[in-house]
């Protein structure tokens, strides 16, 4: 639904789409609808019901019965509010850095490299290339690079850029670094697709109308690439907010960097406190939904500029 909201800013003339009700169209939609009902709607309802459950009387650990215990929500918020704030803080920071790094990259590939199609395709392949190696392996590799006894860290310590007892893994820096690194392709590709279609004649017109390169960028390039910025930030922010790999202790995180994904995982798989995990999931989902709808609404009216 959020995507539908921002796609209307790009194509306002889709009102004359199919108006006739055809049985064939319904038939073709049926598999999709069934899939969504079975694998999205049903689990969502189940998750919602679980989030209000109470521990079964005289039951074992992990046994719960249906109830309406809304206090589950206040309980998890009181217990985990630092994780909730940290999740969104890390996700926003990582999205910001991914945007800062990806925009020039996408601009170079999509606009500057137009004259050299070979370079353009090569650069695109390089952006996508990390996907050929498992996301887990790549994150583990960073853990090696940032490890206390690694060449990088020992060198930094040798030149006193790092304190002798400092660590890189297990810090907020390494988690945000990991999130940024892992989501850069998700940011770059949508940016590239909009920038690749950017008509440079608009930039020339801006320059002709007394706008300096900075103003042309701010008043023409950025607004025209807004669909890509919105798509890229959403594709980065939403999964980053729920990510539990980068922040996990086995990867780049530590005890002080746990995000919502980690506590949800712990509640479901370790503590077997399903209602708490479910309540946290619902909170995460609703929070993302609210933030994204505000963001999309604002970006449509260019208030973000």
């Amino acid at each position: 639904m959020a995507f539908a909201a921002f796609s209307t800013t790009a194509a306002p003339t889709s009102s004359d789409s199919v108006k006739k009700k055809s049985p064939v169209a319904l038939l073709l939609l049926l598999p999709g609808i069934l899939y969504l009902v079975l694998f999205f709607l049903a689990p969502l309802v189940s998750l919602l019901l679980t989030s209000f459950k109470v521990p079964a009387e005289f039951g074992d650990i992990g046994e719960f019965s249906y109830a309406f215990r809304w206090e589950n929500y206040t309980d998890v918020i009181t217990a985990y509010w630092p994780h909730i704030l940290r999740s969104f803080g890390y996700a926003i920071t990582a999205t910001f850095f991914a945007l800062i790094i990806s925009y020039p990259l996408a601009y170079f590939i999509g606009v500057k490299a137009r004259r050299w199609p070979l370079l353009q395709s090569l650069a695109l392949v390089m952006v996508v290339a990390p996907f050929f190696i498992s996301f887990l392996l790549r994150t583990l590799a960073w853990k090696q690079i940032f490890a206390d006894e690694s060449f990088l860290v020992t060198s930094l310590k040798a030149v006193s850029l790092l304190a002798p007892d400092a660590h890189v893994t297990g810090t907020a820096f390494s988690v945000i670094f990991g999130l940024t690194y892992n989501f850069i392709p998700f940011m770059t590709l949508p940016l590239y697709t909009t920038l690749e279609r950017l008509d440079v004649r608009y930039l020339e017109a801006g320059s002709d109308l007394y706008a300096s390169p900075f103003h042309v960028f701010r008043k023409v390039t950025i607004p025209l690439s807004m669909p890509g910025i919105v798509a890229g930030t959403l594709l980065t922010f939403i999964p980053a907010a729920g990510d539990y790999i980068n922040a996990s202790r086995e990867f780049l995180g530590g005890t002080g960097t746990q995000m919502m994904g980690n506590v949800i995982e712990a509640n479901f798989l370790v503590l077997q406190n399903f209602p708490a995990g479910a309540a946290l999931s619902i909170i995460l989902m609703s929070a993302i939904l609210v933030m994204v709808s505000i963001y999309v609404k604002k970006s449509g009216t260019e208030d973000l500029l």
Binding site: Y202, E204, A205, G206, D208, L209, Y210, L224, E302
Partner: protein, 393 residues
Amino acid sequence: MTTDTFAESGADLELVGIHKRFPGFTAIEELNLTIPAGSFFALLGPSGCGKTTTLRLVAGLEAPTAGRILVGGTDVTNQKSFQRPVNTVFQSYALFPHMTVLENVAFGLRRRKMTDPLGKAHEVLRLVELDHLASRRPQQLSGGQQQRVALARAIVNRPALLLLDEPLGALDLKLRRQMQLELKTIQEDVGLTFLHVTHDQEEAMTMADTIAVMNKGRIEQMGAPQELYELPRTAFVANFLGQSNLFTGPVVSTTSAGVAVDVAGHKIVVPATRAHRTTGEITIGVRPEKLTLHSAKPIHDADVNVMGPGRVTDVSFSGVSTQYLVEVPGAGTLIVFAQNMTFGSDVKFGDGVWVSWGVGHGFGLDDDPADAPRFEADFDTRSIAAQRHLEGA
């Protein structure tokens, strides 16, 4: 940045020794051009002749390989496009799709920190009669309306020099005529210097005070439309600006009154004042509408050139006039335009005719006859049709 002020009036444009080379080809070779302030100047030529490159050099969107560009006496060669007192109406209009018409028009004013940008934008939109659409987006307007917004967006800045890059190309014929007149009126009202690039010779002749005909990166000839039409200097100009009947032959006698040339046994006289060359092998010409058709050999008159007999190979009616193609043995095919003064036509296909014209209407070209007559690419459908006939004949 301090608040800027409008240009008081148009400025001179001076191009000194401009060269522009792109990898693989030369777009402009040794271009020298002075456009006086307040004039409506047209740069006319076929596509690929370097006229759009010239415009982009003046706008600052390209840098010349060599040479200097001066606007109002100030050297702007090293200035970036946003620093130049120049605005462009782009061929594609390039209206910002993410802004309303009003914001598009106010864009330049805002960047120059002018007072009351929206008020001034409304004012200029009223001038182009589009103020009622100020809150629309450009893509919601018709082609003609977008063209007027593009014009408004440029002239609202009162640039010392306004560049127009075939801005009427995308419009249909009727709208184009209307916009040509409107542009001319606006230019006279605001007194700016207009540099208009076009491949449409009629457009250039209707609107401009001065036309420069460009070909292969050089200016072939420059002057008032009438002067260019009456006295073309080269075969290219003679054929690009309207159509011409051109003949090549040796000069047989030269008197103070005229130069006589032998064209396939016909003695054709051109006034000495209208001939650029008076000795050796020269190319002379006459405009098709200056010719008269005769069904019998006209009585000899020293002031009239006669050619014939020839055979009519084509008659095509175009409303106001009728175009005849007359094949004269040895001299080639002549184009004759005759006003439709009577119903029907007296001359039919295959008729034997004589062609005559007043000596005063002829002109002599400056070209080396070795490469004349050249008939270069022309986009006027009528001349393309005529050309096909000539090739077929």
